[in-house]
Symmetry: C2
Subunit: 586 residues, 2 copies
């Protein structure tokens, strides 16, 4: 039976919903795929559910093909395992917590590392049981601060999450590669443009980590790419190429200068140019060293003061610093009264060197290599120190990747200038390591009868998000344009006019298409104008549209390609064959 527009639970809207910021959200609501129930919480109407299921099927097929095994954990989870791994606290306000009638604590699962780990611990005990990769396609919950863009970033959403369990790192690398290959197939089949970027493992710990981003102008995630060698990375994950040390033997000794009225780096540079003109080039912001002070707080509540030294032409990037510090968080330090060695605006080699207060750490941008010379604060108001050489005049406790990444920065892989681009995070695979296995005691006996901790990989796909991401990349000003494999129907048959013969013939074509195995959406509405029907078909976005109408008098129907807009008249008796050819070669 075709889906009949006369009875289908669907109403298209001519107006954009007031809260829609991005095209996918606007169009999925207008075309009757989703409806908002609460912020970030949506109902999947019949057409939307069909697309969602098609995404699920593709993901499931590719997981099954690499031998991953599907199971299904509950979404309502007891506190204890999340307490054991520290995440009950770490998640802060980002998860939904609740109590049952016996006052026991529960949460709605945001991700299920704990449950997967405990399931393997429950069933397995020997290296012979491994490797195993398990997955589920499940509804998950996160109490996002800013749910946005419809189902692109929701608070209730569908995810595929998979975890691999291996006895050693070589096994993990193999499991990871198998997932990576499956992801490439999944994202190819979903049919959007995507890029695989190096990523930080973040709160999860672990080593290798890659994200699959759908490229999208409206994407929330910024990444950088190298047009020369193909390198791509999340901003958080970009590693600054470390320059070679510089020979500073000709640099004069560091000297403190009176630098009044230089509240900004620009004013300092101006003063330097006026007072100490350089032979080779004017002074630049990049010649100064800016020391940014933050207070870092660990999940257990302990905190420390961290000083970060970056070239004066770069800001500390919030995302990059946050990623480095996770699971700790930071705030800008402002309690200068408690640390009088730090002179606000003039923090320099004294306060961060010989006079450094106990408990303060000092980390430098990796560009600040031995032999580089800098102008920085002189630890007293209105004074800077010039010709300060790293390694000769000052040093630090280490380096940190916290400075902003800029277009034109050198590619860490080939040195060419980097470009910036935006995307939507659709998948994330990473080598999680032993963090969860250690917290929850997942060990197996190895070949020698010794207990060893299992190592894990983590592999997620945003299934409901994929519906929006595909819509984001497949629409025009008239509406959605689904890739064939995700379209809620294979063909949209539109009958126009009032002539019973038209509806009879349209019905016959539907039956022919269905007999050939196609799913058909049939606009059989009477009393609705052809114009409205055409507009609806464009909005809904089934890739092939068959119009049965006035042309029938001449023995013809029209086949329209939604994406190109091309139309062609074909003899009515060829309609089914022509559509089949189009659908199947596509």
């Amino acid at each position: 039976m075709p889906m009949r527009m006369s009875t289908l639970f669907l109403r298209t809207l001519r107006e954009d919903p007031a809260d829609a910021e991005v095209p996918s959200h606007r169009l999925l609501v207008r075309a009757g795929y989703i409806r908002r129930v609460s912020p970030g919480i949506y109902t999947w109407l019949p057409l939307g559910l069909k697309v969602l299921r098609r995404v699920e099927t593709i993901v499931r097929e590719e997981m099954d093909a690499i031998g991953a095994q599907e199971l299904l954990f509950p979404a309502l989870l007891p506190r204890e395992p999340y307490e054991a791994t520290g995440r009950w606290t770490e998640y802060g306000p980002n998860i939904f917590r609740l109590k049952d009638r016996k006052d026991q604590d529960y949460l709605l699962g945001p991700t299920h590392e704990e449950l997967f780990t405990l399931a393997v611990k429950d069933l397995y005990s020997s290296y012979k049981d491994l490797p195993v990769t398990l997955y589920q396609i499940q509804t998950k919950y996160r109490d996002e601060a800013r749910p946005r863009a419809g189902v692109l970033r929701g608070r209730e959403f569908v995810m595929k999450d998979a975890y691999s369990f291996d006895v050693d790192d070589a096994g993990l690398a193999k499991s990871y590669d198998a997932q990576r290959e499956a992801y490439v197939r999944i994202f190819d089949r979903l049919g959007f443009h995507y890029v695989i970027v190096e990523a930080m493992a973040g709160a999860m710990g672990g080593s290798k980590s890659e994200e699959f981003l759908a490229t999208a102008e409206n994407g929330e995630d910024t990444y950088v790419r190298c047009p020369h060698c193909g390198y791509a990375a999340n901003v958080e994950a970009v590693r600054v190429p470390v320059p070679d040390a510089v020979d500073a033997s000709g640099v004069p000794a560091a000297h403190v200068e009176d630098t009044p009225d230089t509240p900004t780096i620009a004013s300092l540079v101006e003063l330097l140019d006026a007072r100490f003109p350089r032979d080779d080039r004017p002074w630049a912001a990049g010649d100064t060293l800016k020391n940014v002070i933050v207070k870092v707080t660990q999940p257990d509540g302990t905190s420390e003061v961290l000083a970060i030294g970056v070239p004066g032409d770069r800001e500390v990037d919030d995302k990059r610093l946050s990623a480095q510090l996770e699971p700790a968080t930071y705030e800008i330090f402002d309690d200068f009264a408690s640390l009088p060695q730090l002179v606000k605006g003039y923090i320099g080699p004294g306060a961060l060197g010989a006079d450094k207060p106990a408990g303060v750490r000092y980390l430098l941008d990796p560009r600040v290599v031995d032999g580089t010379r800098w102008v920085t604060g002189a630890d007293q108001p209105g004074h800077h120190v010039v010709d300060l050489v790293k390694g000769r005049d000052f040093d630090a406790d280490g380096t940190i990747e916290a400075a902003e990444v800029r277009v034109g920065d050198a590619c860490p892989s080939c040195g060419h200038g980097l470009e910036a681009a935006r995307g939507i995070e659709m998948g994330h695979i990473f080598q999680l390591g032993r963090k969860y296995a250690e917290s929850l005691g997942l060990k197996v006996l190895d070949e020698n009868g010794k207990l060893v901790t299992v190592t894990m990989g983590s592999y997620g796909v945003g299934v409901s998000r994929a519906v929006a991401a595909v819509a984001e990349g497949n629409h025009d000003e008239l509406g959605l344009v689904w890739p064939r494999q995700l379209s809620p129907a294979d063909v949209h048959v539109v009958a126009t006019g009032k002539d019973d013969a038209v509806f009879l013939k349209a019905q016959e074509i539907c039956q022919g298409l269905e007999a050939a195995g196609l799913e058909v959406l049939y606009d059989d509405r009477k009393g609705v104008s052809p114009g409205v029907k055409f507009k609806d078909s464009e909005l809904i976005g089934v890739p092939t549209i068959v119009v049965v109408g006035r042309g029938l008098a001449d023995g013809e129907v029209e086949i329209k390609d939604r994406r190109s807009g091309e139309r062609r008249a074909v003899p009515v008796d060829d309609a089914v064959r022509e559509v089949l050819a189009e659908v199947r070669t596509a």
Copy 2:
């Protein structure tokens, strides 16, 4: 690819789990289908998930076949719609409530009447849009006081819930009948013995209401049936056949008697027999009228005192009384000090007649018809009134179906004696009426342009519960015995011994079966004894088992029917053909 036991995420247990009370729970855990995470909250392991999906598919196909349309509501729901219908309060401790980061109230959906109603209100506005029936297959949540029996009564569970929307009662009756027929097909296909019983609509209001119960000795639900005419009803729904009024013209005037030392009905009957022997037969408990006093509290907190008069040989049945009073609740009244007219143990026609305190209601069992004569309390300690005739000497405010139903009671349909039986509620269909449409303002324009309130039907199937209910009805002392259509695999191929030739041949048979479209579970484990493999295959319960082992030397394999235990040797080259014949004719 077959599911290989060597890698399948499965461990069978030889011991029963400590908390398992019923066979389905015990066996589903032991055979590796489910695992408990928290009380009433379970993980579906790979084999269990396969059975769950097969149930879902059957339900979905039958819903689609009658034109019901699938959508998917969220499980995390805002308070407001449930507030509008009063259920936020009515549900009491039976739902999970939580707050989001902005302190807004949410609940985990126990049933979705509100969301279905609002969705139709959102999209539809005219009688021309109706009828429509919508459904979802979704994870639901109830904070059961006593979660039990594994997935039979869980706190997180999968349900199919459908609602029909019609413009008038005739339409509702038609939608109801279509669902009823689909339910018959669903329960036939699920393959268990079931009975359709008349039910109370309960908290939901509405008129016609039927439950589909899987017959099961361990069932939580008691029902009665008539072996003569086939009538079946929930205990709550049984209606007492009302006898004709009796001619009481020969009955002497009521007389109060001193009845010392008669604290129980039995002692009263003994005294009556000694002091006032009857000519026709001895006195019986059924000749006395017992007045039970309860306090009834409405959801809004208001309360009243209710007196219930039942023949002395019957108790007031908690379930029947609760069903009559819903959504109000009751407790036994004990504040006799506040109503001195009611003399505890001797409440009689004075306190419930002429001297009845304001605000007390008096309802009688329907058997207490005009002209019947009774012995009851005389409103003073140690005294009873005899020859009290209903209609002549006392009356009440109405009748109530609260007395217990007993085996042998007359069938309301044919008068034959009723039997008691037990079952598991698997489905419930009922005519919900206009309750939700009224609370939430779901109206459409009728043919005359007038707004009319839509009438609804409600149709639920316990999908995850069905897995347990089928297991409850399909097992023996060795393990599970799945009906073919629900089995996690069509065939279980077991290779025994150490001979490589055996495993090669078993593998070949698996391929042959899969090429023919069957799903295969293959026990390819090496170093596991044949005894353990046979035990596992019996526990897991795939209906057809193929053993490839020692017989292979003689060119034979064994085909075993799990249910009957029958085994037969077949030539190895016929194995695939023989299995196919068995699976397909079954």
